[in-house]
Symmetry: D2
């Protein structure tokens, strides 16, 4: 692991759950790509895009909750509130 | 092509543009998967997820505009307003 | 009515339905304002904000569907596709 | 103040800032109501709705950040992680 990046140790179980979600999303994107190859009707493609957006959103919530429950809570307990600033910035950027 | 599915003929140019977007999104998803393998920090992963959501949203808008300008307009001109019902239903389901 | 603005004739029933929704939303906003006066807990206020966002979103979808079914369809039938350009622009601006 | 509700003491400055935002949003909703009375064109109404959604979203972010920086941080420091569970639940419900 490079020194340039921040890291987080996750449990094998959490890693597996996150990767399962991402693999499924990657498969859905490939499926949409194939729908374009097959000249499929726009509305049917758009419904699949909507399904991927929901799956990404679910991934986002799982990872965000895990982040708050571990990194943010630990930092606060250690008297370091940088994680709080960073969380608020992240929510500013990502909440629509 | 199976008879079960509705189709739409797109120009070679449009197909290429749509597939370029999807290939990029697929690469981004693989990149996030690798970030999980590399134990990367949650906030850095979440920023990448946000970037994929924007890219999917842009894909969605491009395809939706093309759908309205071609399928929906053509159907209305042909006196068939099914595409209008379907568009309204699609927007009901997908607008958050 | 001023000449500067574009207009649309809506049925008395549609106007009533739209205004009922807006009056309810205005009441909800006043309710949130009162919650701030009463020093109510953040999470309880935020849940109310979420409820207003859903109500506004529902208003948006009702008006957008009505717009597509009337203005957009009529313009296309009259050989004027300006409403199509405008609809696509609106969706570009408002879909998140 | 009733015993039934949870409360939070906010500074006079924060209360004023929150109420200024809410008063502006309430005025915008009344403005949209007037646009319906005046038979204004759908797209012009929809652009105003989009502007209110942005204003509500900004209010939401301001209050959420304040909540995290005060209630959530204080609870964690006091060894009470209920606010963490509640924050995660709130984000689950409200992030689209």
């Amino acid at each position: 692991m490079a020194d340039c990046c921040r890291h987080k140790q996750r449990s094998a179980e959490e890693i597996k759950a996150l990767k399962t979600r991402l693999n499924k999303i990657e498969g859905q994107i490939r499926g949409i790509n194939k729908m374009i190859d097959d000249d499929r009707y726009c509305v049917d493609v758009l419904m699949q895009v909507s399904s991927v957006q929901s799956a990404l959103n679910a991934f986002n919530k799982v990872l965000l909750s895990s982040h708050i429950r571990s990194c943010v809570v630990d930092d606060i307990k250690n008297g370091n509130e940088d994680a709080v600033d960073e969380l608020c910035e992240l929510l500013q950027k990502t909440m629509k």
